[in-house]
């Protein structure tokens, strides 16, 4: 029986820049930052309220795993903003929006009231996008 997700990954273009974005801007906690030779670094972070989920900030570069053509295609798609990486929840969406904006995070859409609740969208430093929603969007007290 599967019980939970423990590790997942986000493909990033540059690990140093991703570190700055996820740790210094979003406030994620570093779990592992282990040098693995000249060009490799094992970098994982967790959302502040979810220490048991590790997100690998996985660099896309030409390697055994990503042949040149694959790496170029993937980099191009990430830059175009094709990949959504999930929904991040916060206690107060307006305060979180103001804080992230003040830190230079690029919002695709400001907090907007939808039929299911309030939602905003922002991009990471590579081009991946996230939905930002307040935690009370997910309390289904009134649903069947």
């Amino acid at each position: 029986m599967i019980t939970k997700m423990t590790i997942t990954n986000i493909h990033v273009l540059n690990q140093d820049s991703a570190y700055d974005f996820y740790v210094n801007k979003l406030g994620f906690k570093v779990v592992d930052d282990i040098p693995m030779g000249p060009d490799s670094r094992w970098l994982t972070v967790s959302p502040p309220g979810q220490p048991d989920l590790q997100i690998v900030l996985f660099p896309v570069k030409v390697s055994k795993m990503f042949p040149k053509e694959t790496a170029e295609t993937l980099i191009s798609l990430i830059k175009q903003g094709v990949f959504g990486c999930g929904v991040l929840t916060c206690s107060d969406i307006y305060a979180t929006y103001e804080e992230l904006k003040a830190k230079g995070v690029e919002f695709i859409k400001p907090p907007t009231k939808e039929f299911y609740g309030t939602e905003a969208f922002f991009k990471d430093d590579s081009g991946n996008y996230f939905s930002l929603q307040p935690i009370n969007n997910f309390s289904h007290e009134n649903s069947i």
Partner: protein, 160 residues
Amino acid sequence: MGTKQLPHIAQSPAQAEEYPKVYLYRRIVQAKLYIDANYAEEIDLDNISDEAYFSKFHFIRLFKSIYGKTPHQYLQATRIDAAQQLLRQNKSVAEACFSVGFQSLTSFSGLFKKLTGETPSAFLLRHKSVREQIRATPLSFIPGCYAHRLGLHENSNFEE
């Protein structure tokens, strides 16, 4: 807080009414960012509420409703968080304590234990041991599927 000003969040007139009470949010967020940037200094929270143009009690109530902690609790938690970072980098307990704005080792250690469940010295020792394990067997910290995809198993420098 002296003559320091709160960080200014730019706002144009067109943005001013994006959502209700936007001006309140901006002032509270400015105060939070001020604490984030200056936790290591001697911060007078009364001055922060003055700078944010609130009465002290209104400010504390709004801050707590947004962040789940009073400004004082948030400042203390931010300091302990920063101390944990320093201890992870193998700084001494005393250095961590005084670098993040505490004046007394006793109150630092007590609060550290209250918030994290272990003493600063136990935390320091535990992370020292983890660092040694990482140095000795780095691949044991990386799930095999990722190490394989990264080709790390082929590099004998990182094998035991």
